[in-house]
Symmetry: C2
């Protein structure tokens, strides 16, 4: 247990170090993350939203994409992610899709809100009925769209994820 | 109003067409999306999770990244997104970060659940207290992590997003 805790402290330290270093270099917001498997760092990620013009280039998303590239897989079973801040809803969604089962984080969504980031706001929006969100959600039901879903369900050679 | 509706029908049709075409080609799940600005399609996206080993390569994320690349910006103000299915929490998060203000969708998260996708499950998880989620969330508070956030708040040349 003690051993596990000191490993966790090491990896979270790496994520915090990235948040500091890459922010100083002007790569984006103060966020860093590492993906770990069996006690080893597989990949590192840091926020690059403003430097590469990609609003999805959050630290966790970058680290997950890189880990998948390195491990040649679309599921990171058996991996953990360490991040200097509680993942935003986008990154948490990516963590679920990647099948990562454990998240270690230092700062919270409230700390992020305190320096002007929208994480907390987006969490609130996400839990709202679609009609009450600030983003206007318009449902255009389509028989054809449902038919494509049925084709997927019937597809013999589909790869599930 | 009638004109707007017929435009919407056209763009949603494009998204549905992509979901069908790219699924048939084995690129990934049955999902397509287009980003539209001032009545013109800026970018197209489709699910590529299993073909490029990227769990974040959902249709909306791909379309948003591509629109940002083309428009050379990290904010898609004035853009709308059309998708064959209600965005999952990851993609909805990306829509908020990209400052897209309107989403048009055909199938719902319930339709997605009906063919085995986790969208609905992840929405439920997201709204839960951190301690009750299936992904284990461990808070490791750190003075140093908070200090990096303070440095961001004090940074003169920071680019906000």
């Amino acid at each position: 247990m003690k051993k596990n805790n000191s490993f966790a402290a090491l990896f979270i330290q790496e994520a915090i170090g990235l948040s500091q270093e890459k922010m100083s270099q002007g790569q984006g917001g103060p966020f860093g993350a590492v993906v770990v498997k069996e006690g080893k760092i597989i990949s590192r990620g840091w926020n690059q939203v403003t430097s590469i013009n990609d609003p999805t280039a959050h630290a966790e998303i970058v680290a997950i994409r890189e880990a998948c590239r390195i491990l040649e897989t679309f599921h990171l079973n058996g991996c953990e992610i360490y991040t200097n801040c509680e993942p935003c809803p986008m990154c948490l969604g990516a963590i679920y899709w990647a099948r990562i089962k454990a998240v270690y984080y230092a700062n919270t969504r409230h700390d992020a809100a305190g320096i002007g980031f929208d994480d907390e706001f987006i969490y609130r929006e996400m839990a709202m009925p679609l009609s009450e969100r600030t983003v206007k959600m318009t449902h255009l039901p389509s028989e054809e769209a449902l038919f494509v879903f049925e084709k997927w369900a019937q597809k013999d050679n589909r790869i599930e994820y």
